[in-house]
């Protein structure tokens, strides 16, 4: 059986997504993405929605926001807070594992 070799896009800071691409990847309307931007959850480059460019990490954040909103029924301000705290926990854990591996 031959399988073709697939190449994907790495979702990092270098990846750029337009508003339309982000909407399609999230299956959501542009209005919802705009709300995430208003809330400061996503920070695209560019001045207006037509010029917005989102990083690959924005897509991951949008997905998490979508799941938190759907599963835990929290509003976007709550989602923004949760995401900030999760970032903070992640960086604290990196420090912790660095310290622990020194012993």
């Amino acid at each position: 059986m031959t399988t073709e070799l697939l190449s994907g896009i790495v979702l990092d800071e270098q990846t750029e997504l337009t508003l339309g691409e982000l909407c399609r990847a999230c299956c959501r309307h542009a209005e919802w993405i705009e709300q995430l931007v208003d809330e400061g959850i996503l920070e695209p480059a560019g001045h207006n929605p037509a010029q917005w460019r989102f990083s690959g990490t924005s897509l991951q954040k949008a997905h998490i926001a979508m799941r938190l909103q759907r599963d835990l029924d929290i509003n976007l301000a709550g989602v923004a807070l949760a995401l900030d705290l999760m970032d903070e926990i992640e960086s604290l854990q990196a420090v912790l594992s660095r310290l622990q591996s020194r012993d």
Partner: protein, 316 residues
């Protein structure tokens, strides 16, 4: 199939009020939400709690479930009694297949196939939805991040066959792992998720990269940390020694009077990228064991001639 005790999963008594069930669900959902929770089995627990709530939040489903009796225990082999749901008037509790996570066989056997006369949105005409996104983890070696790699991964996913039945499909994909990939990064393969319904597009596949633990290096972003054993005289006198890197051994200059734990940086030798990462070499001074007369003599000579007290700063 195994019986599931939804009350136990939800952590409530059988006579709990709807409010108690709701509160308990909220608490457990927050605790086990896969995006938030650090529990290793968070996803499974979250699904289980979701399934239990799907039944207990709906008075009709709950009543039908209660009718099975309280004598069933979790894990017991279960088969629904014939016509077990006869005599119930169901109006449909909003169980729509399109957005439901894959529920257990137990759930499907009770509520799955045309439970009551619930309006059923399956693969029927006029219904159209994009396929679900799929997520999977890919384990790679640190060396793969240096050189790039091709990985074959096998995915198992529940899908609906032509007759609307849930089947597990297994398929393999070959995926290119680009050079410079980091731990925890995601690769998006568009259109490789679940097929859509009624002409809707396929979902996407997200692969999360996870490095296998390495015997020598600890990875942090693009940087690597390496504990490198050095002889006391190498640390004391300085010099050039060989150190391994994932791309092959390189020479490392050790300054005189190095101490254990002081990091030495090999710039740009970490995981490739723009900018590439660094390798931090942490010297670990390793003593030759005093297991021969010659070795013991040398240590005695140092003791006599160096006048070294490592605890002088402690006042002893």
């Amino acid at each position: 199939m195994d019986f599931k005790d939804y009350y136990k999963i939800m952590g409530v008594k059988r006579d709990a009020t709807q409010d108690e069930i709701k509160r308990s669900y909220r608490k457990l959902a927050r605790k086990f939400h896969p995006d938030v929770s650090k529990h290793s089995d968070a996803e499974a627990r979250f699904k289980e709690v979701g399934e239990a709530y799907e039944v207990l939040k709906d008075p009709e489903k709950r009543a039908a479930y209660d009718q099975l009796g309280a004598n069933w225990k979790t894990g017991q082999d279960f088969r629904p009694p014939p016509d077990w749901d006869a005599g119930f008037e169901f109006s449909g509790g909003g169980y729509t297949r399109a957005d439901s996570p894959a529920y257990s066989d137990f759930f499907e056997s009770l509520f799955g196939h045309g439970f009551g006369s619930a309006p059923h949105t399956g693969a029927q005409g006029g219904f159209r939805a994009r396929g679900e996104d799929h997520h999977a983890k890919v384990l790679i070696d640190l060396e793969d991040a240096y050189h790039g790699a091709e990985k074959t991964i096998t995915l198992r996913s529940p899908e609906l066959d032509a007759g609307g039945h849930v089947i597990t499909r297994e398929h393999s994909l070959s995926v290119k792992i680009p050079k410079g990939i980091r731990q925890g990064q995601k690769i998006r393969l568009s259109g490789q998720g679940a097929a859509g319904f009624g002409g809707g597009g396929a979902g996407d596949l997200y692969l999360e990269i996870e490095f296998k633990p390495h015997a020598l290096y600890r990875v942090e972003g693009r940087d690597l940390y390496l504990d490198l054993p050095v002889a006391p005289w190498e640390a004391a006198l300085g010099g050039t020694i060989k150190t391994p890197t994932p791309a092959g051994p390189v020479d490392l200059k050790i300054p005189a009077n190095s101490s254990s734990g002081r990091k030495l940086r090999l710039k740009g030798r970490g995981i490739p990228g723009n900018p590439p990462g660094d390798i931090y070499v942490v010297p670990q001074i390793t003593l030759p064991s005093a297991d021969s007369d010659q070795a013991r003599d040398l240590y005695r000579k140092m003791e006599r001639e160096l006048a070294f007290n490592p605890r002088s700063k402690m006042g002893v």
